[in-house]
Amino acid sequence: MSPDATSARPAIGASIPRVDGPLKVSGRATYSSDHHFPGLLYAVPVGATVARGEVASIDDSAAAAMPGVRKVYTRANLGTFYKPGKSGTIDESRPPFEDDTVHYYGQYVALVVADTFEQATAAARAVKVDYRNVVAPDVRMQLTAEENQTTDSERGQVDAALASAPVTVDQTYTTPPETHNPIELHASVAVWDGKAFTLYETTQSIMNHRAVMAQMLGVPKENVRIVTEFLGSGFGGKLWPWPHALLAAAAARDLGKPVKLVVTRQMMFHNVGHRTNTQQRVRLGANHDGKLIALRQDFIYRTSRIDDSKEDCGEVTAFLYSTPNLKVTSARARRDIAPNTAMRGPGAVPGLFAIESAMDELALALKIDPVELRLRNEPEIDESLGIPFSSRHMKECLTRGAERFGWARRNPAIGSMRHDGVVLGWGMAACAWMAQRLDAEVSLLLNADGSVRVASGTQDIGTGTYTMLAQMVAHDLGVPIERIQVVIGDSALPPGPLSGGSMVTGSLVPAVAQAAAGAVKQLLDTAAGHGPFAGAKAGQLAFTEGRVHLRSGTPADGVPFADILKQARLAHVEGKGKSRNTFGDKEAKKFSMHSYGAHFVEVTWEPAIARLRVSRVVTAIDAGRILNPLTGRNQIEGAIAMGVGMALFEDTHYEPLHGKAINSNLADYIMTTHADMPDVDVLFLDYPDTKLNALGARGIGEIGLAGVAPAIANAVHHATGVRARDLPVKIEDLLASHVV
């Protein structure tokens, strides 16, 4: 095996197409609901049609008698689930069928299992549920601070500083409930062999899923195997287990047959979480020169009655800008709505809408350019923790992004810029997102056939983890991508990180490097003293681009590693690697580690027909070293699409009488279409953050969405004069524009 052209190319920083791309575009990638087994049965849940009340009785006699129906489960016959305890993370901690209380519209109250999906669907509709003590639900979007009021960050004397500030902004901003709509529906295919479960799940965290399922199903962890080979994305909605997975597993165990349960699109608006709505009051105080002297953010987030996932709108507030006085407080308001969960950039994304809109309002009040205002408030250190940044290039994001966009040509007067008969609005916003590592273990095999196998119990949610892992191995070993087999998506593998918080890539780097080094050491130990290296000690050998050779010689004089293994009659040598998380790492805590960015947005406004479109976006991203600009750009472009939806379209509408998310389909829940996509230009600064890992790579799944919505809203203001403080910006808001 001679080093070929491919291996000579650097694997890191190369625009390598997804290694799983051909499988996906040819329909051969096996998604969870694609799994099928002999005798497989189909489960369809019955959802409550009230949002607050109790189940009085369930009559399943008609359903049970329908063709193909195997069993109808209710509280009376499903058996008990254990509570999750501290087994792992779950955002709907109430086990399904726990009691007769209905806490939200659509809550599962029964389950039908039948031979076909159609039979189960028909029978589920025939289950008659009567309710008692039904109360009109409270699904109001207006929030008041009702409980869990806390101060999340504080420095200086913010109220005194606000009172004496020469220029202030004091506004309240709201973001609506957004529902995750990945193209792949949530699904579980549960197989019980009499002793152990194999569960094919749509999860962003197979390891957490295993831990929680083992606890709630009452079996040892080693008797639960979770498989998630491919995900049609999740956006946070698939981070934690949801009740349907427990129902499918319990039915499979009871019936002794494999059971498939696919959550419908309608159910996905109630039963698998959503990004909750927020209400944020932001107060800024500044000197006339634009220097911030006070920043106060008081936010309220809505939760269900039964769980309390915090939408932490202050996620990035405390370190974003330099200000001596700052306070971030939070509070909760409960409503009769299903449990909420994380959505891409949780907390920071709605939080930045408020902060970055307020900064735009401050810039206007001060008559200072919005980019310049941010440059004047760039901090030297993380002022909330008093520690240095590991790698922060916000100023460069602002200046280079502005340059690429042509920001210098911006006329700040509202409605003043026109092109081809339409009004242009230019707006911008800055953004930040955390950069952390999770624990990760990796196994790496050098195989006797010349291939390399890398394995970790993580999963690829569509962001490119298969490709990233292959690139890391190619980088560490110098072997071509084509010879690297990536195995993930199975909880039987060494435990890997969850796919959330943009942490997978950064977490895997150290573990892969360690595993590669370990495998090479084994290989060199094997080679030393035998065959061509009969007279050599391991320390005199080296491994370069797949070949073992004398350190004193060249790779060309050496031997392919496959030959070494064949001669030693070894199938493989294995290296193991382990990354430690940053959350408990004293070294990591010496630095404030985040990604940064700046979005520049152009909207077009046609006053005659009240038509607003996003036409152009330039995004400058400081997310460490970019391992693969192709998949990296794809992440940012997708995030921009989502940001356009957040700014202009997405809004889960809880119907006031029944508490139902009534626009629970893709025609009525409006999201960005291709026709809505602006021209997107992504600029990666590409500064390695070596405090996070040796490659300096951070994750980039979320930073692209943070800040898009306020950049659009700020552009809308520039075009129309309408300040949108409540998302999404709607036509009815824009009709108030005086720009003609």
């Binding site: 049609t49 159609e118 669907t121 028909a122 509709r125 005659a608 027909i609 009240a610 038509r611 479109r613 202009l648 379209f649 509408h653 119907e655 006031p656 009488l657 029944h658 139902k660 009534i662 626009n663 025609a667 009525d668 409006i670 960005t672 279409t673 291709h674 026709a675 809505d676 709607k730 036509i731 009815e732 009709l735």
Partner: protein, 333 residues
């Protein structure tokens, strides 16, 4: 979905006979014809429509588009929306219809949806489409929670205390402005119904949407010869750029000579309980100069009787701008 029998009709008579066995051709019909299926199959999955028999009419020879002796156009009921939209003579003589069709749905849906099916397209009111909600249109007498509820997309013209559901079609708005006639073959023989008489106002019977009787089969749509010296245009306004029903739309056919308007046909979409022909606007235009003032007066006249709900008051202004812009576009083309 509830079980049903499936009949593939080989001639119109067979379909008509099957349809005539249903007690009604309106909401709750026990026999339904399926053509493209883009409305019916959705509603069956939602249990809004639960026919006992579905009659496939796709094999009937009703997909032709041809000139009539008087110079008009005869469009078969089974002509696909995409075929009609891309038909050279439709594009040349009835631009408003081509534009309306292309503004609707997605390419995939337009390839399936038919002219006759589009005429019978049902409302997108979210209460109508949810069997667990009250709805006077789906279940007469159960109430209308859209009044005071989620009504942002619903109608401001032609509403009643019983129903405010919008007719969602783009095609039908263009056909109203073109004064299309609908050829129906029924149990009692053939008849021609002007589009103005085809759709019913909801009144206190919102479950009745058209004049269709059991057994009635739409066979084709007749367009009158294009009026000399006229131009037509369709403008659709919505939240996003594609694949969404209209918040407001306007179909206009306008003839201007020497600066004066000699012919005007106006219909609005997205705002009415049926495709909303606006004769008041036409009267306001006829004989007037083709100026912004005339167009504004026409728009005001068209929306004079608008009745807004809790969330859709903006549609009055939006529809006004829509109509003014459509008229301006066609007058200055």
């Amino acid at each position: 979905m509830q079980a049903f029998t499936f009949l593939r009709a080989t001639d119109a008579r067979q379909a008509i006979d099957a349809g005539a066995r249903s007690p009604t051709a309106q909401q709750g019909a026990s026999v339904r014809f399926v053509a493209g299926g883009t409305t019916l199959l959705d509603l069956m999955k939602l249990h809004v429509e639960m026919p006992q028999q579905v009659v496939d009419i796709n094999h009937l020879p009703l997909d032709r588009i041809e000139r009539t002796h008087d110079g008009g156009l005869k469009i078969g009921a089974l002509a696909r929306n995409s075929d009609v939209a891309n038909h050279a003579e439709v594009q040349r003589d009835y631009a408003v219809l081509s534009q309306a069709l292309l503004a609707g749905a997605s390419a995939q849906l337009r390839n399936m949806a038919t002219t006759g099916g589009n005429l019978l397209q049902r409302t997108r009111c979210m209460y109508f489409r949810d069997e667990h909600m009250p709805c006077n249109k789906r279940q007469p007498g159960s109430g209308c929670p859209a009044i005071g509820g989620a009504n942002r997309t619903l109608a401001i013209l032609g509403t009643s205390d019983h129903c405010i559901a919008t007719n969602p079609s783009d095609q039908n708005v263009a056909l109203a402005a073109l004064e299309a006639r609908i050829a129906i073959h029924g149990a009692q023989g053939e008849r021609i119904v002007p589009i103005a008489d085809f759709f019913l106002l909801p009144g206190d019977t919102p479950d009745r949407e058209t004049v269709m009787q059991p057994g009635d089969l739409i066979t084709h749509v007749l367009l009158p010869p294009p009026k000399a010296g006229t131009r037509s245009h369709y403008l659709k306004l919505r939240d996003r750029a594609s694949y969404e029903f209209a918040l407001a739309s306007a179909a206009v056919v306008l003839g201007v000579d020497g600066g004066r308007i000699h012919h005007a046909r106006v219909a609005l979409g997205g705002v009415g309980t049926r495709p909303w022909r606006a004769p008041e606007a036409e009267q306001a235009l006829l004989g007037r100069p083709a100026t912004p003032a005339s167009f504004a007066a026409a728009a005001t006249a068209a929306l004079r009787d608008a009745h807004a709900q809790s969330e859709n008051g903006f549609k009055v202004e939006l529809a006004r701008r829509c109509l003014v812009h459509a008229l301006t576009t066609v007058a200055t083309a």
